[in-house]
């Protein structure tokens, strides 16, 4: 890994900059710039952005699922400080948020999200002047066109603006790869090809087998490290149901994920191209990140809520901003740092937390699960704490 090259000396611009934050749900850090079997990047549009951006190669989310991760992103607070572990009391209401702080500094604040755990009823719209939620678990294909129309409205508002855009393209069942479908594994005609059309197929994979008799009703979506694993228990009780996976099946699964990453990259590219057409000097601060990653049978499961491993928490993080020197930093950072960093760039009151542009090599980065378990990462390694 390249040592710290970056930035520093980042001065707040004279005028409050416009800020675009893009969240690619479930995109693992290792898919950024990953080459396909023909040596071509899955993410050419993000690669182009990275060429002019600060790229944080050791960025970790504060949570392993969408709601908690975005709540932490918006507030700079760990989920446990927001009532995490108890969905009935989880809330960011009353907390300073990126949107509310920027609005207080004169910004127009808007979001275009793709439903799911970012739907308005989950309460993450705090501080946004406008919080538009598209189709449930939708694609950037729906949110990006709306976001582009908002670019025009925001530009005409006469205010600096914050626009947050989100899409689930890379989230299971990955067939949201749409037209790209199995383009990463051409020729695969195994059992997952048809089964993958059933959204819950990936929740029936454990270890090197598939258990089609394990029904969605049996899926405990709150499963967390240490919690009883219903699929494992079911599989142990029904060994005759196991359909062994061969390497080609696993390659297909991962290929679908990669095709979905390619699709997300296309749509983010459309958004960035539209932004550039409206801001040829690239004065807008652009942040691209993911809320969490995905276990693709790296540790025997598919998904993210069950695990606090690097595969589910290591995320891409790119920041392009006037005055920020492009380059890589390998120092540990957290998505909690995004809020104070953007508040400082906007000239808003200083928010609690660390700045991405003052990385601390002795930093500890904490991540939490929906069940209250946590992992702590340092430059020396990671350790795991069970829920109380």
């Amino acid at each position: 890994m390249t040592p710290l090259l970056l930035l520093l000396g980042c001065e707040p611009p004279a005028a409050a900059p416009n800020i675009l934050v893009v969240s690619i749900d479930t995109l693992r850090a290792d898919r950024l710039g990953k080459l396909d079997t023909h040596g071509r990047s899955l993410t050419p549009n993000l690669d182009a952005l990275a060429a002019g951006a600060a790229t944080f190669t050791a960025a970790y989310s504060a949570a392993n699922e969408t709601l908690y991760a975005h709540a932490a992103l918006f507030t700079g607070q760990l989920p446990s400080r927001l009532g995490g572990g108890d969905p009935a009391h989880f809330s960011i209401a009353g907390q300073p948020t990126l949107a509310s702080v920027l609005r207080g500094a004169g910004y127009r604040t808007e979001a275009v999200v793709a439903g799911g755990h970012l739907a308005p009823e989950f309460g993450l719209g705090v501080g946004f002047d406008r919080y538009a939620s598209g189709r449930d678990f939708g694609s950037f294909q729906q949110t990006v066109p709306l976001a582009i129309t908002r670019l025009d409205s925001l530009g005409a508002s006469g205010q600096p603006w914050l626009l947050f855009v989100h899409g689930y393209d890379v989230h299971a069942p990955y067939v949201t790869g749409g037209p790209l479908f199995s383009s990463e594994t051409p020729g695969y005609d195994g059992p997952l090809a048809g089964a993958s059309l059933v959204p819950w197929t990936f929740e029936t994979l454990l270890g090197d087998s598939r258990y089609p008799g394990f029904t969605p009703a049996a899926v405990d979506r709150s499963a967390a490290p240490g919690a009883p694993d219903p699929l494992a228990a079911w599989a142990a009780a029904h060994p005759e149901e196991a359909l062994p996976l061969v390497p080609a099946d696993v390659a297909f699964l991962r290929g679908q994920y990669d095709a979905a990453a390619r699709q997300a990259d296309f749509h983010v590219g459309v958004l960035l191209e539209a932004l550039h057409a409206r801001d040829p000097e690239d004065n807008t601060v652009v942040v691209v990140l993911s809320d969490h990653g995905e276990d693709l049978l790296d540790h025997g499961r598919v998904g993210h809520r069950h695990s606090l491993t690097d595969e589910t928490l290591h995320v891409p993080l790119l920041v392009r901003a006037p005055g920020v020197v492009a380059g890589r930093t390998d120092t540990l950072v957290s998505l909690l740092d995004v809020f104070p960093t953007l508040a400082a760039l906007a000239g808003a009151p200083r928010a609690e937390g660390a700045s991405l542009f003052a990385p601390d090599p002795d930093r500890s980065v904490i991540s939490e699960s929906a069940a209250g378990e946590r992992s702590v990462r340092t430059a020396q390694g990671r350790h795991h704490e069970a829920a109380p």
Binding site: D36, H38, S41, S139, G178, P179, P186, A193, F266
Partner: protein, 102 residues
Amino acid sequence: MSRASLAEAGLALTLAAVALAMAAARLSSPAPLHHPGPTLTLLHALDRDGNGLLNADELEGREPPGQPWPRLDLDGSGSLDARELEVAMTSLDPTWLLRAPP
């Protein structure tokens, strides 16, 4: 016919030829892309034989249930050009496979 008339006729013919050429160019040129950067980047990434078009193998490797190829190949040419790829990526519901017949 006077020399001036001949010159005027020549000029008229030249202008007509230019107008016809421009019209022909308009007719033969594909519709401009709305998102040329990402579309051409994606086309390049998938175009394994480098001919500027995507065939079924390059895009999918097989025909998934629902026989999508005719829905993508709008002109029935057997391959996708940049415009057809852009239409597929921006207007074809990316979750359509979930509703494909088993």
